[in-house]
Assembly symmetry: C3
Homo-oligomer: 332 residues x 3
């Protein structure tokens, strides 16, 4: 593919020699002649000078004499399109249901879906069209997947939610009694779920993963939770039961969210944050307990300087405040 053809294919403005041949994509650092790369973070601009790539996808006003540029208002998206053109998505080693996948006779699998070895699809479950279930994915009974859903290896969908009624028996022993989990999981179109994740079925009704949402490795979604459309939940996030996420919510790795909460549309939650209260639309939350970003930044700046704050209080206690002694170290 020539650079001109690639520019046209991804809707980029070409600055440079359109006749060059491009065969693949790579990072700025590792690229060689014949490869296209990209710059989305200005922090790495220096690498554009030294890259051996034949062309670099950049933002509209970026300049670098001597380097062939493909300008696009969303360089990362344009590069993604280039990777798709040049490499495409995975070619599967088989089509349809692999003989070592186990599909219950009452389940339905849509046309074009690929089920790898070790996949299990239980009674009455429905898998839409053009889905990919990688090895050892388990779909419990009655769960429903839309179209173009991708689920990576060893992920479990629809196991029983964590529902137990605690009761002191006639023998005086306090024990936990299993509540039948008679709901299911519904995964809407274009969802991708990474490896070894767990989505619990609802106690009653449905646990729902909204259209176009992307869930990372080792995520867990509790029973009756609802994740809105186009959410991004990075690895190891845990959402407790009955919590509702709006659409376009973003959560970094290892975020934990308590049960029965509402997280507003477009909210962003930093990695490692612990959410114990409802979150407003478009809020940016950081820390444990979760605070709005501006508050959290001030709180943590003082937190890491607590020894200095204590020293200042001690100085006040000994009556030296206002004296001409040297200043204590300033807080960040």
């Amino acid at each position: 593919m020539t650079l001109s053809e690639l520019a046209a294919a991804i809707g980029a403005e070409l600055v440079g020699d359109g006749s060059l041949l491009i065969d693949s994509a790579n990072t700025l650092e590792a690229a060689r002649a014949g490869q296209v790369s990209f710059l989305s973070n200005p922090k790495y601009s220096k690498q554009v000078e030294t890259t051996k790539a034949s062309a670099v996808v950049v933002s509209p006003h970026f300049k670098m004499p001597g380097v062939n540029l493909l300008r696009h208002k969303n360089p990362y998206y344009a590069f993604m399109q280039a990777v798709v053109k040049l490499h495409g998505y995975r070619k599967h080693p088989h089509s349809g249901i692999h003989p070592r996948a186990t599909v219950d006779s009452s389940a339905t699998i849509g046309e074009g879906s690929v089920l790898y070895p070790g996949v299990y699809v239980g009674p009455r479950a429905r898998v839409g069209r053009d889905c990919i279930l990688y090895p050892n994915v388990v779909i419990y009974d009655d769960c429903v997947l839309g179209d173009r859903v991708i689920i990576h290896a060893n992920t479990s969908i629809g196991q029983d939610g964590y529902g137990f009624a605690t009761h002191k028996g006639a023998d005086g022993e306090v024990a936990h009694h299993k509540i039948p989990q008679i709901g299911n999981v519904v995964i809407e179109d274009d969802v991708e779920i990474a490896a070894n994740a767990t989505i619990d079925r609802a106690a009653l009704g449905s646990t729902i993963i909204g259209e176009g949402s992307k869930l990372g490795d080792l995520i867990t979604i509790g029973h009756n939770a609802r994740v809105g459309a186009h959410c991004l939940l990075v690895a190891q996030v845990g959402i407790a039961g009955s919590t509702i996420l709006g659409h376009h919510v973003t959560m970094g790795g290892q975020v934990g969210v308590a049960g029965h909460l509402k997280i507003g549309d477009g909210a962003t939650v930093a990695a490692g944050t612990g959410i114990m209260q409802d979150v407003d639309e478009k809020a940016i939350m950081i820390g444990t307990p979760a605070m709005p970003a501006s508050q959290a930044r001030r709180v943590y700046a003082i937190f890491t300087q607590l020894p200095e704050l204590l020293a200042r209080v001690k100085k006040l206690e000994t009556g030296s405040a206002g004296s001409d002694e040297p200043e204590p170290p300033a807080e960040a």
Copy 2:
């Protein structure tokens, strides 16, 4: 089933029309005529007014004219019994060992146990009666499961514990040498373990999960740890090696517990807490590092208001303390 019959079956006091037919259970919000629902959290009392459920399980003194009530001193437990009566537990699509489960010839599987496709049971392992091992559960060699144990999809039981001896070799290279993990895992009766969890085998002796305990998704239990009877450990909890939990311990999601600790009977640990020291019986622990709940609440209230505390110290330093200036914002 009539409402009278249901009331009798779950040991509830009926207030209302016992002749109504009940066919299933649902939430207050989603229920329709012919369904039973429940109220265990008074916060949702309003929903009893508007529910379309034909009856609602409530606590003994609850009143709501015009609504059929099933009064029980433990409404959640009574509702659980109703769900069991009306819906029952999962009916499995096969009985016994599925031909696609792999059981070593030296392993034993008790009567009434159901092994789904992809299950692996290793040499000399023993599975008790009426157990359910969902797809792709792995039980390593020599592990022992009691009766009525339920293990959900993709959970691993008995893999080697994290045991390595670090040693500087003759070549000066510091490397980590695997210590054979010659113990096993013992899971007592009536334990339920959710999906994609990991229970490590003991280095020597046994890692033990006590009778009636319920473990959530993605939990990990380190080698030689012991979980007492009737514990509730929610998703993503991590218990390091050789730690001992008493009975009736409750831990919220994402709790981490360091190794070689003792957690007393009946202790409760809030979600996200990091435990680095022994915990007393019946203690309620919150935060990182874990603190008794009353202390933690005061600490975190001040923590989130640290900028105000700093402002007060600054004011003292500039000599304005005791002046008639406006008060700084009060801490929570």
Copy 3:
């Protein structure tokens, strides 16, 4: 095996009766006659007095009259060797590729490697010699494992990294578009990975796990991350994409590391720590946000005593500072 033979085999100095027969290893507490035990933590010295073990591996200058001692400068390593001599490593119930493992015809499996039932090895993947892949391990296409790699049950290697380009479409809808993940995972020699872990393939190039590193249960390593040689990463650690760990890095359980960071050689990170910045060589980091250990200890000591700090500030505000009133409680 006599105690003399065992001493010679593990390179220990024998103090006591070399003619005793030793048949197995155990903890100080559980050992009986005929067993060898060890003491590596002086905290448990008392148990050497009361153990029923026939011999105890101890450090060079340890004394305990009446107990047979095996002195070694690294008792834990010496004991490991004893366990290997007396018990050996797991004997597998089959050799080679189990008929229920699925290996793509274009993949290669080295001599001496054992693949358990349910293992999947994708197109063009290469597994070295003497590897062990426990049940339901999944190796995606093009991934490469060195020699003597051990991977425990239900772990996923090489699934697509979390790579999506967010773009507002012509219809005004903001959606996330999958970026083909065309790289792979390279796992070097002598790596061990525990159960239900996830190592994402690189977007471009390779995600690398360095020689001799040991990864715990439920760990996740993001795309294009590199873990150096001889690292120890305990259970539930999460390393985000493109982060680079040096060699001999140690991380406790549930540590989270943000993307695009560098963690220096020999750094140690305490359990539960959240790393958001580069870490120096040999640094010891604790807390969220991560701080050098000495700072973190002071910060957390004040943190847990914040109510006392607030009380001291209040006292200053009311003008009683410097008075002869009783002292407020001291901070830890």
